[in-house]
């Protein structure tokens, strides 16, 4: 995969960092976004096994204070729900929807004090040039109202530090370009959330059709029961 870095400070927002001559064509229609439907009773926690999909590869990212953190420190020892976002995403069924879903889940998990101590959420920015530690610190305030609940927001020092993480998770991302091939402020990415067990293994992946909080809550409890 060819990646090109552009000179710093070229374009507002980071995205020109990713500027590459775009291909043309308009046949792929993203269609109208639709919230997921759930027309079934989810199976109870512990009545099923989640697949072991893949192990998480380690990386060095930045926390909201700008400190370097090992990703493995935040994807092990607790049940982790990890997602990617960017702070200026405005799609109501995009990042805001993802974080609303996570907030719903957080409240469900907080209702079970023992479980809450075993769960963490991790949100990783897709745009480290714009989403500096200061920016994600500000953004995260809305979601980290309960200091007892472990919800981390991360970014990267530079795009190159983020790319292996995206590659490992299979998180597809591209940047909308204008008629002249210049990057715009729109990121195309497939909304995914990754449920990771305390040993650092991805056990479920949720795309939009599967962002059903009750099912996700049951999956978290299933992992907790599995670990004993």
């Amino acid at each position: 995969m060819h990646r090109v870095g552009a000179p710093a400070g070229v374009v507002a927002g980071v995205l020109s960092l990713f500027g590459i001559a775009g291909m043309t064509g308009a046949a792929v229609d993203p269609g109208k976004a639709t919230a997921p439907r759930m027309e079934f009773v989810p199976p109870p926690p512990g009545s099923y096994k989640l697949q072991k999909i893949q192990r998480v590869t380690d990386a060095i990212l930045l926390d909201t204070a700008g400190h370097a953190v090992k990703l493995s420190a935040l994807t092990q020892s607790k049940i982790t729900l990890l997602t990617f976002f960017y702070t200026y995403c405005a799609d109501p069924l995009g990042c805001p929807f993802a974080h609303t879903t996570l907030a719903d889940l957080r409240d469900r998990v907080r209702g079970d004090r023992a479980l809450a101590q075993r769960v963490r959420f991790v949100s990783v920015s897709l745009d480290p040039t714009h989403d500096t530690p200061e920016v994600i610190a500000s953004y995260s305030k809305e979601f980290t109202i309960d200091p007892k609940f472990d919800w981390r927001f991360l970014t990267a020092r530079r795009v190159q530090d983020l790319l292996p993480v995206l590659d490992d998770f299979g998180q597809d991302v591209s940047v909308e370009t204008d008629m002249n091939g210049h990057a715009t402020r729109t990121l195309h990415h497939m909304l995914k959330m990754f449920l990771i067990d305390a040993r650092g293994e991805v056990r479920e992946i949720y795309t939009l059709a599967f962002l059903q909080p009750q099912v996700m809550f049951n999956d978290i409890k299933t992992l907790a029961l599995e670990a004993g």
């Binding site: 792929v28 993203p30 759930m38 799609d91 993802a98 909308e176």
Partner: protein, 438 residues
């Protein structure tokens, strides 16, 4: 063309996937949560093609055809990539991000992963998986169905006796094996499972995974004429469909559907509670729907041609609104259109002889273009002059199929064309990254 701001907004994340849950059509049998369905003009048709000894390099190959009428190379083969052997190329499926195309061999059980996202006009073979049998005991990978971050593979046979008892395998998108699930052979909901497998179709909103059943290697790799004269062998075809709990991956209901139910298509629009399939040997359309008690029921709802003549329905393609269904019957080379406005009572409203033998049928999302290929299986295709091998494209105006272009796979020295998948040049985007398959 400037993309409207609202559209950009919807592009920014979730819409790319969510399109898929709204409806399910061709573009044909794609997983309902795969990203980037092509609702406009497809640019390319990829054809998974069986190699023929003495024809070209004799190898199975992925053939790419330019399908955009605005292109100078419209209706021609623009790329082909051989896999270096013959393994009974059959079906393909995209990964959830539509960047990669997985293609299987029913004989050698190899699975090839092609990168079609980087440059869809020139797919690249990036990985070959050859451990299916060793990991699962299954052979004959047939259906490739995208799950988030994974590929669910419906198999046809097993390595032990090469009969029809088989199962499903799950690999992650990197090509690593994850899990296997045997097709049920026990009695569930008063129906005994035959253990056979074929197609896979998921309805995420119902947590439902529906499978169908065909036959094992011993039959599908045998000359069709001989097979049909062997009454004992003809007993070894699937007679069931299974409704699974997708989350638990446990079978919850077995449905008696005699005659080898093959391709499955869900109607995924809100309020719809049904899927449809066609039985190869009994030439019927079967509807799988929920009764008022919430129990799934299977019912034959229409005949396809004259079942006494064994027209052999082999592929179906449902329209985006689930109001119509294309059906190809192999033996009589006919493409049928059924009105599904009342899915309990489908009515054939159109048919056309589209070749001496026809197999797969794929339609564009808008239903205006229909593509037909000729080959069923290397040992089942017709002999002599009836062994036409082609991809034929048609325009459909709601009343008549009109030829658009025709590619003679024998003349082009390509082989036997089977499964088709569409790709399009991506919208104006620059790559930030692409998840690599290692």
């Amino acid at each position: 063309m400037r993309i409207p701001s609202r559209l950009i907004s919807s592009l920014c994340v979730a819409a790319i996937i969510s399109v898929a849950i709204a409806s399910h059509a061709d573009e044909t049998c794609n997983s309902p949560y795969m990203s980037g369905l092509i609702k406009g003009q497809e640019d390319f048709v990829h054809v998974w093609t069986l190699g023929v000894p003495g024809m070209g390099d004799g190898s199975d190959k992925l053939v790419t055809i330019d399908a955009n009428p605005a292109s100078k190379t419209y209706g021609t083969v623009i790329h082909k990539i051989s896999v270096g052997g013959r393994g009974e190329a059959h079906h393909m499926g995209f990964t959830d991000d539509r960047k990669y195309l997985w293609a299987g061999g029913l004989d050698d059980s190899k699975i090839y992963i092609f990168d079609v996202g980087s440059n869809p006009s020139h797919p690249k073979l990036i990985k070959t998986i050859d451990d299916l049998s060793a990991k699962t005991g299954y052979v004959g990978p047939h259906t490739f169905y995208a799950l988030p971050g994974r590929m669910l593979i419906g198999d046809l046979s097993n390595a032990a006796d090469k009969g029809g008892v088989t199962g499903m395998a799950v690999y992650n998108n990197k090509g690593g094996f994850i899990a296997k699930y045997d097709m049920p052979t026990t009695t569930i909901t008063q129906v005994k499972g035959d253990g056979y497998g074929y197609d896979i179709a998921v309805n995420p909103a119902k947590n439902a995974l529906l499978t169908s059943s065909f036959s094992g290697w011993n039959n599908y790799m045998r000359d069709l004429g001989e097979l049909m004269k062997d009454s004992e062998a003809m007993k070894h075809f699937g007679n069931s469909m299974v409704m699974w709990n997708l989350k638990t991956m446990q079978p919850e209901q077995i449905l008696a559907v005699p005659g080898a139910p093959l391709e499955i298509r869900w109607a995924l629009a809100e309020g719809q509670n049904w899927a449809i399939t066609a039985t190869a040997l009994t030439s019927q359309l079967w509807l799988v729907s929920r009764d008022p008690q919430g129990v799934w029921q299977a019912k034959d709802v229409a005949q396809i041609g004259d079942p006494a003549k064994i027209p052999l329905p082999v592929d179906i393609s449902i329209t985006a609104d689930a109001k119509g269904l294309w059906v190809n019957t192999f033996m009589d080379g006919t493409t049928h259109y059924f009105d599904l406005t009342d899915p309990q009572h489908p009515k054939e409203t159109y048919s056309k002889h589209t070749g001496s033998q026809v197999n797969m049928v794929s339609q564009s999302w808008d239903g205006r273009r229909i593509y037909v290929t000729s080959s069923l299986l290397s040992k089942w295709d017709k002999k002599g002059k009836d062994n036409e091998q082609f991809l034929r494209a048609f325009h459909w105006d709601g009343h008549e199929l009109t030829p658009a272009f025709d590619i003679d796979f024998t003349k082009e020295q390509l082989g036997r064309p089977h499964h088709m998948k569409f790709t399009a040049n991506p919208p104006r985007v620059a790559s930030l990254t692409g998840a690599s398959v290692r």
